[in-house]
């Protein structure tokens, strides 16, 4: 975790001091390549797990319900957070 944080800070300092340089502009745009690549690699590790794929329906149904409940809970919590700390209409 601290490695990720360190890399984020490192990237931020490089971006801050070299802003406007071609390197930084390309690095920032590279996000659009890196994320699809990560998803591809992750999909591959799921696809290659035979036992997981065989029972995907059974596990998937439970996972879907728990994930959806978590998403709804987070949405409600975030809306409450905004109401409490930032007034009714405030977005920031």
């Amino acid at each position: 975790m601290f490695r990720m944080l360190f890399l984020l800070m490192l990237g931020m300092s490089v971006g801050y001091f070299l802003h406007g340089s071609a390197l930084v502009r390309h690095a920032a745009k590279g996000v659009r390549v890196t994320i699809p690549l990560l998803l591809f690699v992750f999909g591959a590790s799921i696809g290659a797990d035979g036992e997981l794929i065989a029972n995907i329906g059974f596990f998937g149904w439970q996972a879907l319900v728990i994930a959806l409940l978590g998403v709804v809970g987070s949405f409600v919590a975030a809306t409450l957070f905004r109401r409490i700390f930032y007034g009714k209409g405030g977005a920031k």
């Binding site: 290659a48 596990f59 809306t79 409450l80």
Partner: protein, 207 residues
């Protein structure tokens, strides 16, 4: 939208490639995801650092931003707990452990397989770990593809909260684009960091 479709296609393509085995072994190298994630962090950081709004973002920091992750944890766990009414094969603690991944599928599934294996046997642990992996992948996908909708319906904090741990990396570019609010960056990063620390603590507690 085009980018979202590309991401979905890459994910589906990956599953297909893994399933058919049509696919170089180098992609199964265990450190590859970590390397890619590191590159992503550098890129996200560079984009943030080069942005004109970084100063503004830092000046806009408030202590109450630290409370958002606590709201996310409470909301996620309270609602996830309802699943116990549907799935009698799992205990409440099992369901809460799955919910405690907050989108961090890799760490949460490994932790559950490990910690649950000690108490309930490796078979039950592998099952629960698989559910945790899938549930947290689904959460990440919902967050990634639903960000524009969530920010429209629930304001700027909703996509951050739903993204869970991914608010600091994978979902951060989408969140900043959808909300058009660069000042959200420190909130989203802080949110991800606090949740990342809470994942092992909560899973250890529930397993």
């Amino acid at each position: 939208m085009k980018e979202n479709l590309l991401m979905l296609a890459c994910f589906a393509g990956g599953i297909l490639c893994g399933f058919t085995g049509l696919f170089p072994d180098v992609l199964f190298h265990p450190s590859l995801p970590a390397v890619l994630l590191s590159v992503l962090m550098l890129q996200v950081g560079a984009g943030l650092g080069a942005g004109e709004d970084l100063q503004l973002a830092l000046r806009s920091f408030r202590l109450r931003m630290l409370l958002l992750p606590l709201f996310t944890i409470a909301g996620t766990l309270l609602f996830s707990a309802l699943a116990v009414l549907l799935f009698h094969s799992h205990s409440l603690a099992d369901i809460l452990a799955v919910g405690s991944g907050f989108g961090y599928y890799s760490l949460s599934s490994v932790l559950i397989a490990d910690l649950k294996g000690a108490s309930a046997g490796s078979c039950a642990a592998a099952e629960l770990a698989t559910v945790a992996l899938l549930a947290n992948v689904v959460r990440e996908m919902i967050a990634l593809f639903g960000t524009p909708l969530f920010s429209r319906w629930g304001g700027a904090f909703a996509p951050v909260s739903i993204a869970g741990i991914n608010s600091m990396d994978v979902c951060l570019p989408a969140i900043l684009r959808a909300t058009e609010d660069q000042t959200l960056a420190p909130v989203a990063v802080l949110h991800g960091i606090v949740l990342e620390m809470s994942v092992p603590l909560l899973i250890a507690f529930f397993c």
